[in-house]
Symmetry: C2
Subunit: 408 residues, 2 copies
């Protein structure tokens, strides 16, 4: 812990408040790290040259924050990972950015996003192994936090876009209950799934950030009752993750739980919903600039426009029915654990990886946290996913913090 | 039916398709009506001088549509009813606008909205009685459709902003199930409540518009089983509405149903949620331009920031619990009916009226339709509200159409 950029957010804020660290020194240290590393990692679209210092009384005073480039910023362009938005300068800050500034935080810059926060990869590399994907769509945010370029960052999840990059890059990723953080000024992907989330290098820092943003309280941390959930997508899990997950479950004394049989169809339901809604969220871009949309994404739009409304409505109904049976799925446990991704970060940058461990929980709207602490035989990070009940975010984070300690 | 501007959307589209009516003639007729009347009604913020004709194959080809001024439009400014956004020219169309154009519709202009789609009134008057409010926040859209300036228009509802103006102005208003129409490019008010809705002068036209936008199918129309629901807010209902509603319920052979006792708290829960989320959706405007926000709205923001997260979370939980008991509330009926507003449009323009008949249904996320057909002793329109199950929009609209005919 020799350099300020390596400090966690809470510790940095504490030192700044006590006068042991200067806010500008911290920012300079993060900028130095970016200058040294980002030619290789490629996590940032742009970095703020004129750091605005606001609200010295705020809990986040002096803490730098990275922002996925689908969040509007009044002082930096917002490109949504798309050539359609080259040079786009929003008039207003998105609500998560404004809440960060209100709390005294510093917007360090914009991080690379997959095209419109979908599956189309951009240039970011995994800082743990530059030949691999960091995951997506919140690629730059996860990579930047992992590489100690910034202690906190925003992402969004519609399929697995917060949790999976957290697993691949070895950082803590938190997707709250649906609609916990405000979406004003964040480019939509699929309205009934989109969730703003955050990255940090510890669960404590996630809690610190969430408290500063919306006053999310802390819950007491005791040994939780943990359910081990292989999910209905277990056949997608790679050997390195299966072995590490089963070992972690034993270590955590987790009891096996099975999701209701009726949850089997949820992954397919999620696909219908993201295709149907995703096509309509991009209606303007698809209508006016079809040639500037990646061909695979354009194809997803076409698939989405072709889905008959009753099929889409049936998929939403399946999601609602499953949400009503969540209590049964938890089987008396405080939280469930599942793999945060199907395996280690895949080689190459042509895909952001498999979302099979994420989409069902996203559709269920439940809070999920990925904590590092497991590793593949090749030494790459693997995330353990902690899943809580709807709206039970404080307890879910408390359990994640307990598990993070137990895995250390 | 002498002038084209008086035609319904479906009839106008049919005539255009058959070559019996020219698209430009229809637009010209609507513009003429606006020129003649809008100095008094004040429904429009701006009207499109260069009408773009797109997709002659589309079902909406040639049909003019009014758009509430919180929906981004790439060819017209979008002011959100706020001086903060004077001269704001968005780069993209909001998704509902783009879907309208894809279907061949013509964006006629932007209609007056209450400030940021909240309770702060703007200049629009009720075309049925210029001394009265048209309701809000979708004031201009409801007034423009009522005054035959346009056959279709978009609104949004977070409390009662689609249904109530429909009741006051005597038009059909439809708030779909939450997340039915896409929200991309629509300024948020409260994420967990905001719903895009539409206005027309018949239920048939609403169905026609929804089919063109997202392929919403029609359901068979038979005499529905109707539940008469006085709601837990019956003490707010004015004598003219109580009498008309009870008479309509008798005429429709509706059986009385009572909402579960646990629904009593939902109106209060809605207030907590709209305050908490509403403050955060406006975080940027509140942080940078507090003096340009109406003092009453600024006060609502302050109230919202002061709500502790656990109180907000408890309100959301109450909403979820009630949604899980909806089947019980419907008591075997196809739809419920309730007043669409507490009474006739109030005198004056200083308030947009009472939302007590709307907020519970908005929190429940269920589809609601207001149909005209009742009147107060002074001859002002009163809307009957038809409420359906979550996702059961086709049947809800079919029942509303049957009821519309029965009340005629």
């Amino acid at each position: 812990m020799s350099e300020p950029n390596q400090l966690g957010a809470k510790e940095a804020a504490r030192r700044i408040e006590r006068g042991e660290l200067d806010a500008q020194t911290l920012v300079a240290s993060c900028l130095e790290r970016i200058a040294a590393r980002d030619a290789e990692v490629r996590a940032w679209v742009c970095v703020n040259k004129e750091i605005e210092v606001s609200n010295p009384e705020g809990p986040l005073y002096g803490v730098p924050v990275g922002v996925k480039d689908i969040f509007d910023t009044a002082d930096l362009p917002t490109r949504h990972g798309s050539p359609i938005y080259a040079g786009n300068q929003p008039r207003a800050d998105s609500a998560p950015v404004a809440l960060t500034r209100m709390a005294g935080g510093t917007i360090l810059g914009k991080t690379v996003t997959a095209e419109f926060a979908t599956f189309v990869p951009r240039e970011t590399r995994n800082p743990r192994d530059l030949s691999r994907t960091p995951g997506g769509s919140s690629s730059g945010s996860a990579a930047a936090v992992a590489d100690c370029m910034v202690p906190l960052a925003f992402g969004t999840q519609t399929a697995g876009s917060v949790i999976r990059p957290g697993s691949y890059c070895g950082v803590v990723a938190y997707k709250p209950t649906y609609n916990t953080l405000p979406r004003a000024g964040v480019h939509p992907n699929a309205d009934s799934l989109d969730t703003v989330g955050v990255y940090a290098r510890s669960v404590e820092d996630v809690m610190f950030f969430m408290d500063a943003l919306i006053g999310l309280p802390s819950a007491p941390t005791e040994k939780p009752r943990i359910g081990m959930c292989r999910t209905w997508e277990w056949d997608q899990v790679q050997p390195e993750m299966a072995a590490a997950f089963e070992q972690a479950a034993r270590q955590l004394d987790a009891k096996e739980v099975r999701l209701p049989e009726s949850f089997r169809g949820l992954r397919g339901a999620h696909t219908k919903i993201i295709w149907f809604e995703g096509a309509r969220s991009l209606a303007d871009e698809y209508r006016r600039f079809p040639q500037k949309i990646d061909p695979a994404l354009r194809k997803r739009c076409e698939n989405g426009y072709a889905i008959p409304w009753p099929e889409y409505a049936a998929a939403l109904h399946e999601g609602r029915q499953a949400r009503a049976r969540l209590e049964e799925a938890f089987a008396g446990c405080d939280v469930l654990i599942a793999p945060a991704a199907t395996g280690e970060a895949p080689a190459g940058l042509s895909s952001t990886g498999n979302t099979a461990m994420n989409v069902v929980w996203t559709l269920l709207h439940v809070p999920c946290v990925s904590v590092p602490g497991m590793a593949s035989p090749s030494g790459l990070p693997l995330g353990l996913q902690i899943i809580g009940r709807l709206g039970d975010d404080p307890r879910t984070l408390a359990c994640a913090q307990w598990i993070e300690g137990a895995l250390r």
